[in-house]
């Protein structure tokens, strides 16, 4: 056990050395947020190093430029992968709850919730389409768009027969549902499958 302690102590200076590359990336503003926390921590718990916070692990975002940039930078993330990471595109069309929303560079800062539908990414002449189950999109003033979806598949991986079967199944479930919870679940199933249907046909 003492050996572990000495190894951990030996590891600490290594961590400090590794943390230094991050600290050069951070602008002063982020460091003050951590500074109040680290100060408060060291007052109350002097023996332990304060824990790190997510800000120290993130690349800072560029500030809002004075003129509208030509390209939109898109981050499209899913729980299992980052489908697009800081990709520069011309336009994305997202399926917000209020309808299909087109996002161009210089779009006003917005937070929107997504409903099941098709997300299309326009880059030059190519258009990539994904079916998105739901999630959120944040559009920042500096022409950065973050799309966070729970599940997304490229349209060519969808099977039309299974979609029809699913739609029929959920419609029957809705008619046979008794409790509110079952009705809500069946309704969600119907919404997703009809969106899938229209994505495949439209």
């Amino acid at each position: 056990m003492l050996r572990q302690a000495s190894r951990l102590l030996a590891c600490r200076p290594k961590l400090a050395a590794r943390a230094r590359p991050f600290s050069t990336d951070l602008p002063a503003a982020d460091q003050t947020a951590d500074a109040t926390f680290t100060e408060a921590w060291s007052k109350v718990i002097p023996n332990l190093d304060p824990p790190k916070t997510p800000l120290s692990f993130m690349q800072p975002r560029p500030p809002t430029p004075s003129s509208i940039p030509s390209k939109l930078t898109v981050n499209f993330v899913l729980p299992y992968a980052s489908a697009l990471a800081t990709k520069e595109v011309d336009m994305v069309i997202v399926p917000a709850t209020t309808g299909q929303m087109g996002v161009l560079p210089g779009h006003v800062a917005t937070i929107a919730e997504l409903k099941p539908g098709v997300l299309s990414v326009h880059e030059g002449n190519e258009v990539t389409k994904y079916f998105v189950s739901s999630g959120f999109v944040f559009i920042h003033a500096n022409s950065f768009a973050d799309i966070i979806a729970v599940e997304a598949v490229p349209l060519d991986q969808l099977d039309a027969n299974l979609v029809q079967k699913g739609l029929a199944e959920f419609t029957s479930k809705l008619s046979s549902a008794t409790t509110d919870l079952e009705k809500a679940e069946a309704q969600i199933g119907i919404d997703v499958h009809s969106a899938l249907n229209s994505a495949l046909t439209g």
Partner: protein
């Protein structure tokens, strides 16, 4: 007379046994209970005890080496998942910032730990950090509660903070970790626990030998509104137009819940990686220790064996010279 000779021989052999804390071996010349491959009446030190010890240490070495291999393969599997999920929490931090020093009335510390042991000090570190945050956020009108994931943190926190624990969840890794499971978990926590700020304490995986204790803060929608109105870090939030929904509050509520489940997912994966990595290095140092111990025991064994051969030779020779002379 024979007894005196035996006693003398016993005392002569005692210093030959190395002064290591192998008490079992030291006791054998004093208690002549193990007679080993020789005619009755010939006294020499038994190697049986040392041999038994060597066998058990060798088995321990094999087991810890195997555990290290298993941990390495599990680490490979979880590491890709964890690295892919790292993009998930970054948009939320970019939008809402990170306010670990926010002043709230009710904070809930979600401590993530492992169920199984033998993984080094990562669980103790998480618990120490959680207790530190509890201390940091306690004061008049402020209270901090715990939500515990994992057996190891439960064992440590139940001892002194039993009344502050709201929820305990164990056996998280019975099935491979996936987002659905974690979102159900997040839902449970959100339903049953009142909070103004959730602080998730976990070990972030940097590399196989380095795990950084990290705390991620998720604020409830009311606090987000409060901080946005008061300006400061979240002051820009009001500039964002909110699409859809009836009210801004509804969207912010969904946002906070989604943020919590995403941050939890990443935290649970990173902690699983750290657990496997810590177990790998713990088992590695353990098998190295066992190897060292085996070397020392081998030396002792050889010394004992050679001493007994020398004794036999001395007895034979002195017997022969007694006959002649």
């Amino acid at each position: 007379m024979a007894m005196a000779a035996l006693r003398r021989e016993g005392r002569r052999f005692a210093p030959l046994i190395s002064p290591r804390p192998i008490t079992a071996v030291r006791s054998s010349p004093i208690a002549p209970t193990h007679e080993d491959e020789g005619p009755i009446g010939v006294r020499y030190i038994s190697t049986q005890v040392v041999r038994n010890r060597m066998k058990s240490v060798k088995n321990i070495q094999k087991i810890t080496k195997a555990m290290k291999m298993v941990a390495a393969s599990k680490l490979r599997a979880v590491q890709t998942k964890a690295e892919n999920s790292r993009g998930l929490w970054q948009p939320f931090t970019a939008l809402l910032g990170d306010l670990p020093s926010v002043d709230v009335k009710k904070s809930v510390v979600v401590t993530i730990s492992s169920d199984k042991g033998l993984c080094g000090g990562i669980n103790s570190t998480s618990v120490k950090i959680s207790k530190g945050i509890h201390k940091l956020n306690s004061g008049p009108e402020k209270e901090t509660k715990y939500v515990i994931l994992g057996e190891k943190a439960k064992a440590q926190l139940i001892r002194d903070s039993k009344k502050d624990i709201e929820l305990i969840i164990t056996e998280l890794q019975k099935n491979p970790l996936n987002y659905t499971q974690v979102s159900v978990l997040a839902d449970e926590i959100l339903k049953n626990v009142e909070f103004d700020a959730l602080r998730i304490v976990f070990n972030k995986f940097h590399s196989v030998v380095s795990f950084v204790p990290t705390v991620s803060t998720v604020l409830s929608p009311e606090i987000v509104e409060r901080e946005a109105e008061s300006g400061g870090k979240l002051g820009d939030l009001d500039n964002y137009e909110v699409e859809g929904g009836e009210t801004k509050g509804e969207i912010l509520q969904n946002l906070a819940e989604f943020q919590f489940s995403c941050v939890m997912f990443n935290a649970v994966l990173e902690n699983a990686c750290s657990e496997q990595g810590a177990r790998m290095s713990a088992m590695d140092s353990s098998s190295r220790n066992a190897g060292d111990m085996l070397d020392r025991l081998t030396l002792t064994y050889n010394r004992t064996r050679q001493a007994s051969i020398t004794t036999e030779l001395i007895e034979i020779i002195s017997g022969a010279s007694a006959l002649e002379g």
